[in-house]
Symmetry: C2
Subunit: 330 residues, 2 copies
């Protein structure tokens, strides 16, 4: 176990099941392309039975970010809940193999490990259908003050707002982080997730969040404004540091003082966008942990996002530290 964490992540512990699907398949099942919807056990069985052969790769938004940070060589920890089943063992192995302290013991009864059925369309876009399973049992009891006290940054995913006990865990973690002098980072996760929890997110961003990650759709939804520029102005007012991603159009960094832009990194072929935002956050947070200027942090983010969209799955397939060295970003 590490003495200090550059970043401690708290999020849903999920194994992704990725398959290729065409737009007709999405339409036929009424699925909103690019989004994340929650499904129950029966819906999960039905969708799985209807979809093509899968590839299982560990996922979960904050877990992807923490895995990316570990691949850069940062000291990291993760809090999230799996069941003691085969997929739970897969999740634990994959995150631990990167050197992450995965501190939450597996549940021994109740729902199986969470899975996200991800339909990847020919344009590389992913549409996610999440059965939260054991993951939604995450509660305040899983957030230990000793772990939080070790962290410079505690990174929280907006998806935690969906199950009630996880939201409680979220607030507890934010409170403890500030008590121990750390910073709270939040990713808004998904524009539909923002729709579900808009008022609470606004209060949270204003009161508790030191570093906010969001994409264009999410930040526009949060503030219910008509343009990205308007949203940027709102974030500057509410939050010390905003990291706003715009897919191929790069990223915008906002602070009280200024707004800066960084271009996206060119990718030969976008295979699967799953995890793009998660890995952008990983690169950015790694830069912050090394006290790099924000623009360099964003370049690391763009690099990590480019790696993850060039193959199936939301976890890096290559050492991000090696990539950063060969790109002369560190």
């Amino acid at each position: 176990m590490a003495d200090k964490y550059d970043v401690l992540g708290i999020g849903n512990a999920i194994v992704d099941v990725l398959t290729r699907a065409d737009d007709e398949f999405l339409k036929g099942r009424g699925l909103a392309k690019g989004g994340m919807q929650l499904i129950d056990a029966v819906e999960a069985e039905n969708l799985y039975a209807a979809m093509g052969p899968g590839i299982e790769i560990s996922g979960g938004s904050a877990a992807n970010t923490i895995s990316g940070l570990a691949s850069f060589g940062a000291e990291t920890g993760f809090i999230g809940t799996v069941q003691s089943d085969q997929l739970g063992k897969v999740f634990r192995h994959d995150i631990s193999a990167l050197g992450v302290d995965y501190v939450t013991p597996a549940r021994t009864e109740g729902d199986p490990t969470a899975r996200c059925l991800i339909l990847v369309t020919p344009d590389g876009e992913r549409t996610m259908n999440t059965f939260l399973g054991a993951s939604q049992t995450l509660g305040p009891g899983d957030v230990n003050e000793d772990d939080i006290a070790k962290a410079d940054i505690v990174y929280l995913e907006g998806y935690l707002f969906d199950p009630a006990p996880a939201k409680e865990a979220f607030y507890k973690a934010a409170r403890l982080t500030h008590k121990h002098g750390g910073r709270v980072a939040l990713t808004l996760s998904d524009s539909f997730c923002v729709d579900r929890h808009r008022e609470e997110f606004r209060v949270l961003v204003n009161d508790e969040v030191d570093i906010l990650f969001a994409n264009e759709a999410e930040i526009i939804s949060l503030y219910e404004v008509s343009s990205f520029d308007e949203a940027c102005e709102k974030v500057r007012r509410d939050c010390p540091l905003g990291v706003l991603t715009r897919s191929a159009d790069g990223a915008v960094i906002t602070s009280k003082d200024k707004i800066s832009q960084v271009p996206a990194k060119h990718v030969e072929q976008v295979v699967d966008t799953t995890g793009a935002g998660d890995l952008f956050a990983a690169g950015f947070l790694y830069g912050l942990s090394r006290k790099l200027p924000w623009l360099d942090c964003a370049r690391l983010g763009a690099m990590a996002a480019a790696e993850v969209i060039s193959h199936m799955g939301a976890r890096p397939e290559t050492s991000l530290m090696d990539l950063a060295k060969s790109d002369r970003l560190v």
Copy 2:
């Protein structure tokens, strides 16, 4: 359930766990690069704990071939045994989702579903470590005459010779296939596997096998000759149709009358060679099922092999029928 099978496969039902590793890792653990070794449950735990994050994708040699055939649109069935656990469900889903009749019920007690821990080195070569688990319980009782009677070709993997009851199942299937007028196809699977069972394989090839698939190392090992050309002459004598693959050097088709060559299909970047031979066999057998000339069968094989080595995992990620159409091979 189909009335007729173009090909019925019998093999180990395995989920692959793929990870990237460097040559040092293989050396440090004394693993023979490019080979397949059998490991027990304890060795599997130890190796899994030592290796990096994994990607789970259904595998198994004959199962890969049958999946490839289904992706071409052939009528197919599969016999092989999983446990009724999460990985067993993954295996069943993936092969069934392609339209394969997977006729063997899951075991309900005993070892968990088989897994193969595959280390992919930077050159794209794969080194396989197989825990056979529930797969090695395959026995003659799993081979039903009704299924065999429906098949034009019964495809068997050499790996079945490792567990004794599977070998019995193998002989029963071969006998029943000929009784019902079908053809027996065999892949030698692996040169180490040939070493373990050389004498039995030689008798089998001579007496029972109508179509033999092998790569260069396997066929040289089978006949203990010093050159590929010598091996080709031996195969011609023993077996009506030999399909011999030589990686980037293409394939050689042998029969009593002649020996023909087909070049490999160029691949921009070899990502992972897992399943290359299995998918070559899939393309070749699909061509046979459509009564195409052998050289066209081999071109379909080369195309399917090229698809599978361009990404991680031994199952096609793209419809092979669509690919064959766009390559004007059908």
